[in-house]
Subunit: 195 residues, 2 copies
Amino acid sequence: MEKLNTEIRQKQIKKAVLQIISTKGLGKLSTRNLADKVGVTEGALFRHFKSKRDIMLSIIDDVKNDLLEQMKKIADSNLKANVKLLKFLCAHVRYLIKNKGITILLFSEATYMDDKEMKKRLFDILSFQKNYVKKIIKEGIDDGLWNKKINADNVAVLYMGIPITLNIELILNRKEFKQENFCRKMFGLLERVLK
Amino acid sequence: MEKLNTEIRQKQIKKAVLQIISTKGLGKLSTRNLADKVGVTEGALFRHFKSKRDIMLSIIDDVKNDLLEQMKKIADSNLKANVKLLKFLCAHVRYLIKNKGITILLFSEATYMDDKEMKKRLFDILSFQKNYVKKIIKEGIDDGLWNKKINADNVAVLYMGIPITLNIELILNRKEFKQENFCRKMFGLLERVLK
DNA sequence: TATTTTTGTAAGTAAGTGATTACATAACTA
DNA sequence: TAGTTATGTAATCACTTACTTACAAAAATA
């Protein structure tokens, strides 16, 4: 029996979690199945995480770090606001497709468990995203690119609907989703709102 | 022990399901808790539904009948397309708030169980909604109310983001959601897209 | 009113849950 | 190389799950 350090095992465990929930569903994510997937016994799992809930919280933190870091870079870049918003949306969409709607699966878990802390962390992620969008829109308005009368907050709400709807579609109807130019099309509509 | 007919019991059971999942979360929706809530034993539950899954499927059908019927009436009415779309969106939003995000909770259940049939029925509900919106938008275009060049399908996708985002917010952050004029604000943005 | 049908209960079932225990051994350190 | 620590296992914990069974009694029907 090979022995690996906690850091490596934690990564393996979290990877296995994502594999299970995206292939067999959250309902099959038992510590039993998870241990089998990793190739260890259940006891080993609890050597590296203090609880199953802790594993899930750690995954939420990973999403926060990965996705929000990408977004921050784009939002803080020196591009023009319209280019920035398009790039932002496309990066957002790409992440969701690549990760098979992971955020919404985490949402389902939080809802299922009625876990306040998990819900709070997920809400935080959404809030961060929305604020980045708001910032970009305000920049565009200040630069005279977009209409001064539009309310950045409301448009940010409208924006958020795009990735969230995509998420839902990816889960409910994984196969039929046609992604060609999805982000460009949606960006086109957002621009009509902003102009 | 009072004995009620299946029809009445089924309604009681489904009502109890909604109470449990909107107060204690899906994870607490066991047949044990459900029977307690209804005030019968577990055995009685299985007299009126053949399985727990059957109860959930029946609730999905109720949502389909209730919500989609309201929507059909509005979509088929003789109002002008802009009035119609506003009314449609506000009715949609009102239903979700009143039912505390029931649709997304059903989504979580379907995801959790990885239940194909449940997913399909939920996707159907979304598709119906989207098609009603598409129909209204096309009417508005034909009447010269809105721009001929806009793609009704894409706008319908954008529309769907509004109730879905609302749903998510209702679950993640029930208290802080401020609903005053929410549907009017969002309608204002949709009109900018359409004009 | 006598009989059948429907609706209820109490007590189970087998299977699964997250987590813990006592113990073993690989890997690191002095 | 000897001793310590980190990482593993196998077995089991107490508890929950959806669902079933054998039986009782209320309600509907004749």
